[in-house]
């Protein structure tokens, strides 16, 4: 998407939220949904619309783990790295996932297919270890089920 389109999208989303500064997180979520990331070009537009300084908006974007500065792959897999999943070989799962995708947590595969992320608890702790594949929950994951979940992705 061109920079002009990004700024236009940002302005439209902010307007949908009444240009209210307290809705900044909602605005950033929607922006990321639409652009694939919180694009740099969008920040001054949002700051102006919400009557905030650029530094304030930048501060919010960088504070929250969810917001991406670069677009993700076509699919996002979030693997849980918290205690309950650790107790069920979650550390091994994450290591296998990194090996299978040939990418470290936080990175995107070279073909742009999958972004692998590490998160802390998905509320699926009674069927650990768990992951979200594009927001679809999967429980009791091991290297084998991980591999087939990836294979199913287009």
């Amino acid at each position: 998407m061109s920079e002009a389109n990004q700024t236009a999208a940002a302005a439209a989303i902010a307007a949908r939220h009444g240009n209210r500064p307290d809705e900044l997180l909602e605005i950033l979520h929607e922006l990321q949904e639409e652009l694939g990331c919180v694009a740099e070009a969008a920040l001054p537009v949002i700051a102006k619309a919400l009557n905030l300084s650029r530094a304030e908006v930048h501060g919010v974007v960088t504070f929250y783990h969810d917001f991406r500065r670069e677009p993700a792959g076509r699919h996002v897999i979030k693997i849980c790295a918290a205690e309950s999943c650790q107790s069920m070989k979650g550390r091994e799962l994450l290591a296998s996932a990194e090996k299978i995708l040939k990418v470290k947590a936080g990175g995107t595969t070279v073909d742009g297919k999958v972004t692998l992320e590490k998160v802390y608890c998905l509320g699926l702790c009674a069927c650990s270890p768990a992951m979200l594949v594009d927001n679809r929950p999967v429980g009791r994951v091991d290297a084998k089920t991980f591999k087939s979940a990836v294979a199913e992705l287009a």
Binding site: R20, P21, D22, E23, L24, L25, E26, L28, H29, L50, E56, G59, V60, F63, Y64, H65, D66, F67, K78, A82, E83, S84, C85, Q86, S87, M88, V119, Y120, C121, L122, G123, L124, C125, A126, C127, S128, A130, L132, N135, R136, P137, V138, G139, R140
Partner: protein
């Protein structure tokens, strides 16, 4: 024929959607997506209506659907049949006040909700004064279920007694603690109950606007809550002049953005205002100066969810459960390396052993239970020798442990407790809001010191104890202040794990 297949995320994580669509393809079958019973070990758990009650099957895969349908239709016994759901000991032994409808109703059916006791509490509240409602909540002995266990009635009274042109009710649905999922189950499985509880809080304190702050890791909960609010508004259970009375209350869902610290109530307020989630100094208390500087009720999902029962049946009825100063029930969450994981709602006073060995059936791996982390990432590691500890806020505090949000993560004897201690510091370092030094810097130092100890450097032991002390007493909030509990409990109860690396090297 009606078939119930849960729509809960944990059920979905184990294949419930595939099971539901396999059933939907069969002739004469109507699939209902109900909430989950909380027997995650039996999910996907499928139920049929029969003249004697619901008949259950689990865990079901899409491949089993044909054969289950056939044997159920011909009254034959199937290998996955568990008989009548009501007769299951695992459920019968529970005391489900909050989770009374779990597995029974369709989460987004208002008529289901009302047919199973929904809105009785709100109807009672609509006839009472704010002070009368607050008295019921105080009488119930309810203490905040989000971790700090502060008496809910006192908090509500403060907001009620503080005059302001606008007051707010905020639900803390950030549920960041590992090993917990009861909030998620309420939101996905019985959203009207949370709406009812928050509305009662609004009426009690004179607040007309509410927010539910849900973590972004819970996409289903966000979607269900938004849908439920729209349905409730449509049926006049929310919005202006609720059910023709002079009471009004509106509710909005806000989504977090992956910051554990936003579960701390003042950081949540900042986040709700669209800012970085920084912890605020107290005082002022949020009950006096909270969201946008206005008096604000902040409670956990389970605290609000307990309120409809309390108003419908009276504070005394709730107080009759529990012991000491821990009154009522707590929905415990059995997680981690456990054979029968899921949700067990019981009165306070049940022991860890009854939960982990009784309901839980021991570890999933079949090995020995070695440790349990209770109360999330800031809770202590409890050794198996303390399995007879009763679930009671004070009994746990006396042991340097915490009941917290009621999550119990079980570890078997393959766990390396030095690794767990290191992780506690790592987590604190990643999630620190950065406002105070003992937490921001201390946690990073903590990782290094644990590493030194694990490498066999005994001189680092007093440094760790000292550092933990500084964090405990010098941190503004419980992230920095409580991280020492998992760290030091691991070291105290499992010292051998901290010299393993050294032995291996020798």
């Amino acid at each position: 024929m009606k078939v119930h297949v849960p729509r809960d995320s944990a059920a979905k994580a184990l294949g419930a959607d595939q099971v539901a669509s396999a059933f939907a393809k069969l002739d004469g079958v109507e699939v209902i997506r109900n909430s989950s019973r909380g027997m995650v070990w039996l999910e996907p758990f499928v139920e049929f209506d029969t003249p004697n009650g619901r008949a259950g099957y689990g865990p079901v895969t899409a491949k089993d659907v044909q054969s289950i349908f056939k044997s159920h239709s011909s009254n034959a016994k199937h290998k996955l049949s568990v008989g009548l759901v009501e007769d299951l000991e695992w459920l019968k032994k529970q005391e489900r006040l909050t989770f009374a409808r779990a597995g029974i109703t369709d989460p987004l059916s208002l008529s289901d909700y009302i047919a199973h006791g929904g809105f009785e509490g709100l109807k009672t509240a609509l006839k009472k004064s704010g002070a009368e409602i607050v008295k019921q909540v105080s009488d119930s002995g309810l203490r905040g279920r989000g971790g700090a266990a502060f008496p809910t009635g006192i908090k509500w009274k403060t907001v009620l007694d503080t005059a302001a042109d606008q007051k707010y009710v905020c639900c803390n649905a950030d549920e960041g603690d590992s090993g917990t999922f009861a909030d998620r189950m309420v939101m996905e499985g019985d959203p009207f109950m949370l709406i009812e509880g928050m509305t009662i809080a609004g009426i009690a304190t004179g607040a007309t606007k509410g927010f539910v702050y849900i973590r972004s890791e819970y996409p289903d909960a966000v979607a269900v809550m938004k849908e439920a609010i729209a349905i409730a508004v449509n049926a006049n259970w929310l919005g202006p002049n609720i059910q023709g009375t002079d009471k009004s209350f509106s509710l909005v869902v806000r989504t977090g953005a992956g910051a554990y610290i936003c579960g701390e109530e003042t950081a949540m307020l900042d986040s709700l205002e669209g800012k970085r989630g920084m912890v605020r100094f107290k005082p002022p208390l949020p009950a006096i100066e909270g969201l946008f500087g206005k008096p604000t009720v902040i409670n956990n999902v389970l605290s609000f969810a307990a309120v409809p029962f309390i108003l419908a049946k009276g504070g005394e009825a709730y107080k009759n459960y529990g012991l000491g100063r821990s009154r009522g029930t707590l929905p415990f969450q059995l997680a981690g390396n456990i054979k029968q994981g899921g949700l067990v709602e019981k009165a306070f006073g049940i022991t860890l052993r009854e939960l982990v060995e009784g309901f839980g059936g021991g570890t999933a791996s079949g090995r020995r239970v070695r440790a349990m982390q209770v109360g999330g990432p800031l809770g202590a590691y409890v050794p198996a020798s303390d399995l007879d500890l009763a679930m009671d806020y004070e009994a746990f505090a006396a042991k340097g442990a915490m009941v917290g949000h009621g999550g119990i993560v079980v570890f078997d004897d393959t766990v390396d407790m030095a690794e767990q201690a290191r992780f506690a510091m790592e987590f604190c370092a990643i999630e620190s809001c950065g406002k105070c030094t003992p937490c921001r810097i201390g946690a990073v130092r903590g990782i290094e010191v644990v590493d030194r100890i694990a490498d066999g450097d005994a001189s680092a032991l007093p440094i760790l104890a000292d550092l933990c002390n500084t964090m405990k007493f010098g941190s503004l909030c419980a992230l920095g202040g409580f991280t020492p509990y998992p760290v030091m409990s691991a070291l105290t109860h499992f010292p051998d794990d901290f010299s393993r690396a050294k032995e291996a090297a020798e």
